[in-house]
Amino acid sequence: MFRKYRKDISGWLIMLPGIILFSFYIWEPLLASIVMSFYSAKGIRLERFVGLQNYIAVLNHPDFKSAFSNTFSYTFWSLIIGFLVPIILAIILNEIIHFKGFFRISIYLPNVIPGLAVTIMWLFIYRAGRTGLLNIILGNFGFPPQAWLTKSHLVIPLIVLFMTWRSAGATTLIYLAGLQGIDQELYEAATIDGANIWARLKYITLPQIYNLARTLLILQIIFVFQVLYEPLVLTNGGPNNASISLMLLVYKYAFEKFDYPKAVSVSVIIALVLIILTGLYNKLVKENEM
């Protein structure tokens, strides 16, 4: 009897430390968020069940509307600015034979720099007045200095711009791996058939990385949807809520107003959107594998 289960028992014992850590850091907090979102609280102590009141209060607050539409705006701009860049970079770099390693290393370098350090770097680049890097460069062409981060219609694209600067290199490497996985005989055959370079790009390269691009598209949306510390550090959500994101709203509820139930209500809403996106992602990955 015992022998029969020995393997199971020792297996679960080995998994135990990991399961405890995952429960503590990921699974339990997720469930706790859901529970807490239905309660009122005093500080960190839950008081009584209030049903959907937290959600209603959060949804009716004007900050939520800004944060919600801004989060979509972040996603939109990240797709406009950031989605095609890595694909184009990968296709170009895949053609280059000279200094191959140097190119790959350089484009990946921004990715190893801590996100907070990157944000502060760009704070100086976008700085108002004559001495911000962007204003110095534009000043050489005769443009007057601008207070970039106070322009509400520009602030999100400007944030997305440096998010792209930071992460495009890593994504490019993923596409490069995909491009190298393409069966080279396809190109040989196409060349013999007289297909020119544009035709090869259109009929071989792009269709071959289509699935990968679709997967990375979803991953990018999931990633950008959680944007938090770029606006937190750069603008603190301003000017006038123009760059506040949903995660930043969670942060403000939790760690500025100490209203934990409202904070978790917003994070549950985020988690719901992300779960839908994740389901979609898993479906696409499964299709890719088939």
Partner: protein, 290 residues
């Protein structure tokens, strides 16, 4: 440039390079690549060089580069901001995190790959989902849990958080899947229990995967700031990133801040310089397997 040179990958082939027009395209692509590298590196280099400016130079003069290069300015900032202390704290966080990342995730990956006790499929399923549900959405209840356990102001919760990394578990599981089951079975017949199989047989075979996990853990825990900020702020245990985040509300001058950014990006850049091959391989795996 093109004479002794075959190109048998990508769109452009050796055959195409006989045509002058295609050679020009190749050279244009090369120039574009150099430009891309410039974009990737320029902000970093500008940040580092700006640290050599004096305060009045940095705040008043719209110039790209400093007028003199005196390393003493960096040393002065290092001393006044007491960076030695923050470096030591960050190193403590990093070392403990490596331990938990390798052992915690490794054991879980081993059990899921080689022991597979009844019910472990469910754990694997949960881990796959955790990969997609971002930790930041449940930061509030996690923070409250840590407060309830009175672990605020301790490094322990930061170390342990590295042990709950779904991506590493999957990386380990995939790696262990490639170790032949017969090796494990032989050890079992010799009377080894699962713990000693893991530590004496599997672990020494896992040098390459342990290196990848270690490098990514170093980078991630060095760069992390939200949880360290919530747990360590005002305890004397602040890490480099926490200090950097606090600059927003502190009296440090702009040049001090930009020098501190340099201090915070140097360790990751050194790490990358030595291990860039592992990091680039890791990033390709994230995309393909994630």
């Amino acid at each position: 440039m093109f004479r002794s040179f075959t190109k048998d990958s990508g769109l452009i082939r050796t055959f195409d390079l006989k045509k002058p027009s295609i050679r020009i395209i190749y050279i244009i692509l090369l120039i574009i690549s150099l430009f891309i590298v410039f974009i990737a590196l320029a902000p970093i280099i500008w940040t580092i060089l700006s640290g050599f400016k004096s305060l009045s130079e940095f705040v008043n003069e719209p110039k790209l580069l400093p007028s003199s290069y005196n390393i003493g300015k960096f040393i002065e900032t290092w001393k006044t901001l007491e960076f030695t202390r923050f470096y030591i704290n960050s190193f403590i966080v990093v070392i403990g995190s490596i331990f938990f990342a390798v052992i915690g995730n490794g054991l879980l990956g081993y059990a899921l790959s080689k022991i597979r006790p009844r019910g472990s499929k469910f754990i694997y399923f949960l881990i796959l989902w955790s990969l997609m549900i971002p930790a930041t959405t449940s930061i509030v209840p996690l923070f409250l849990n840590i407060v309830k356990l009175k672990l605020q102001g301790s490094f322990l919760p930061l170390w342990m958080s590295a042990g709950a990394n779904a991506f590493f578990v999957i990386l380990y599981k995939n790696f262990f899947d490639s170790i032949p089951q017969s090796v494990i079975e032989a050890a079992r017949i010799d009377g080894c229990n699962e713990w000693s199989i893991f530590f004496k047989i599997v672990f020494p075979l896992s040098y390459s995967i342990n290196t990848v996990v270690t490098i990514f853990t170093i980078n991630a825990s060095w760069s992390d700031f939200l949880l360290p900020y919530l747990l360590l702020n005002n305890t004397g245990k602040e890490t480099v990133m926490v200090r950097l985040f606090l600059f927003r509300n502190s009296v440090a001058t702009d040049v001090d801040i930009i020098r501190a950014v340099t201090f915070s990006i140097i360790p990751p850049i050194i790490l990358f310089a030595f291990f860039q091959k592992y990091m680039r391989e890791g990033i390709s795996n994230i995309g393909v397997k994630g």
